[in-house]
Symmetry: C3
Subunit: 309 residues, 3 copies
């Protein structure tokens, strides 16, 4: 039987499909309870430590809310400047300290591999809330949860990922997680910001049909899900290429005219200007519903790794 008790959540590619389905089923149950205004106490008596060594509102508050909604409590380091890290302490020692205070640890850190390093230092479950350009697995889980809620299925869908696919950790993690399903992936980006070749190969080996294009309009016609991310001017080596493309990768109502009728729009947030605010009232605009889904998904993870469900 699938069981996540005591497990670390470090990477999107660590999961079997059974594990993802357990997380989703658990999240659905919690969401149902929240909607009915039921109070839960799965994590009563437990303490979550949120250690955020990089700025974040969304992910930190989402985990804290998840723990509080489960009846647990929270201690937090929201600012690395106010912590012992500023005295030169190693991550290993920080974790060996915090494991004495908290029953589960959520870590955001600027360094790739930091979450794995933290997990190696402690028996307590560690949840990776983003390790630099590395992984952000809980974002991918809530993305998959959102697709399922919005479309009723994941198998059979065509999902387009748009933007900076070279550096975007959310898109990498999402693609890995979607490879557990029967999906078709379209990667829409400028040539210079294409999906890393190793990841494309990994997906192909797993039998995931993929397509790469610069053409957002073409992708819109075929996609059931549009996953937008930001591309930044400073990422382009060639500024004339940026000038050519910048308008194309900004989603507006008028760009959406080419889209499949039932398409849903997702975005990990924060957005800056890559989705115009006139899209917010579009029926398929799912990004604020997506952020809401973070709470039940993180409740599921916290309850599962602490063995409280």
């Amino acid at each position: 039987m699938v069981d996540l008790k005591g497990k670390d959540i470090l990477r999107a590619d660590q999961f079997t499909r059974d594990e993802v389905e357990l997380i989703i089923k658990t999240a659905q149950k919690f969401e149902d309870s929240l909607n009915k205004g039921r109070m839960l106490d799965n994590c009563r008596g437990l303490i979550l430590a949120t250690l955020f060594f990089e700025p974040s509102t969304r992910t930190r508050l989402s985990f804290e809310t998840a723990m509080l909604r489960l009846g647990g409590q929270v201690i937090t380091v929201a600012d690395p400047q106010s912590s012992s890290v500023s005295k030169g302490e190693s991550l290993h020692d920080t974790i060996k300290t915090v494991e004495n205070y908290a029953d589960v640890i959520v870590l955001r850190h600027p360094k790739i591999g930091a979450a794995a390093e933290a997990a190696a230092a402690t028996e307590r479950p560690v949840i990776n809330a983003g390790d630099g350009a590395g992984q952000h697995p809980t974002q991918s889980l809530l993305d998959v949860y959102t697709i399922l809620k919005e479309k009723g299925t994941i198998d059979g869908l065509t999902i387009a990922c748009v933007g900076d696919l070279k550096y975007g950790r959310t898109v990498h993690s999402l693609a890995e997680l979607l490879s557990l399903y029967k999906v078709r992936l379209i990667f829409v980006s400028p040539i210079s910001l294409r999906m890393p070749a190793e990841l494309i190969n990994k997906l192909k080996e797993k039998g995931v049909p993929t397509e790469e294009t610069e053409d957002l309009k073409e992708a819109l016609k075929k996609s059931d899900v549009l996953y937008m991310t930001r591309i930044q001017k400073e990422r382009f080596e060639d500024q004339t290429e940026y000038e050519r493309l910048k308008g194309v990768y900004i989603l507006t109502r008028s760009v959406l005219k080419d889209a499949k009728k039932e398409i849903i729009i997702m975005h990990p947030l924060p957005r800056v200007n890559e989705i115009a605010t006139d899209v917010d009232s579009y029926e398929g605009a799912a990004y604020f519903r997506q952020v809401a889904n973070g709470v039940p998904v993180r409740m599921a993870l916290l309850a599962l790794v602490t063995g409280r469900i």
Copy 2:
């Protein structure tokens, strides 16, 4: 019947006298419970988000205490540098995110109108904890609550407001709220820092007798309440005027010799040097009792807007 359920608290001039009286009555009940050491659970299962995009100890901790004393829980952003605001997210999007985590939102923001903007973005009740040079309505409510507790009534009193009346948001909000009562207002300030003419006119239209003067001693003789605020050297265009006035607007025991016997001294805090510490032991020195009143008043607001009373 008066009901604040689901309402935003944005401005001091939004209230009817009935609403103010409901808040006061509710605060009195909560204060009584606190004094008897009774534990309350009006807000059990609810989460308050305190979003402070400007420094504050007093107001943030006061709201957090209020929520905890009601049996609720708190998530907090105490430092804008550690949040997604530093990534360029709009206030609208931040609020559309946080509404998924919290049942009620308290916002302090440097920009005038920010609280109204936040309230427009969400169905959740938003409480303005200060929007730049704009409004600070919960301060005015606790000020009125304090006057009532100290003097037994508000109708019939003469209340002097002293200091920088041009830029001081607490005094503006307080004057608006007091205009619901039968009071006489004396505004004591240097000529260059007088109360804005529009506000004086607004008060006159409502039939509030007002008086403007530079002379604190004269005001002390007639006033039942002295509401001190800070005036800063840098506010003066004419430094010789500052030299002439600076001593007069610093309250000491000896200045108080001219005061009415039963006068009470208020201040929104923090003070720097505008009230000498030898005044702290004066019987009418009410400013630390005033800060204490912030808790029951904010408990009342939280319980009322969440419909938990």
Copy 3:
């Protein structure tokens, strides 16, 4: 009978041996409950304010965990920049404000004597979590608790304190607290960083046998407890002295060859490089167990000063 209800915890030398034993006995009881997974509610309905005007992870989170494990709640200022201190408010006024929110106050402050100043401003119990180069009494209490747990006794032990003994507040406070017991103290430091003469005299007056040396190896042969602290290059007036000594005061497995077989190694943490990581797996390496002991000891203090035990 010994009773700490309503008392402030300001200095290591404020305690009688009976009081220390009460704290230890209470901590043992709480540790036992924690180990059995029992939920406690001694501090239910109470609020702790942690005011940290200097960076800290360990001490702040340890106190917050202690309060939460007792069923209480926490409000916190983790960053002086986000508080009214940045507006020039006096510590007295900050405390007169916070006493209206919290039932007990834990303060870390850069200024010697700040905790005593805070305690003078309020009837609420104030616990000193470090006042600059002054005192850190709760660290010393958990140090004594650790020695007792590791060695089964304190009377009769020889305890070596190593490093910067001139400026190190933890060592000063620990020595004062140990003077209540029948111990022998060895102070190991460079000449220029010796224990202050007044403190040595104070210990002698109390009949504590002390010894001062530069020689760590010699001390290791005689000691039951090795209390390491950091010495910093910049503390040395004479850099050639630093070059001569730097290797000697870094603890490695090979340095430990000279140690008594049953020696335990302690450190207040954070360490930088003064204990090599190869020592972590040494049986007597007690520093991470020491940090764990902070929770029951601080639970004991919180429950005792609030009169909840």
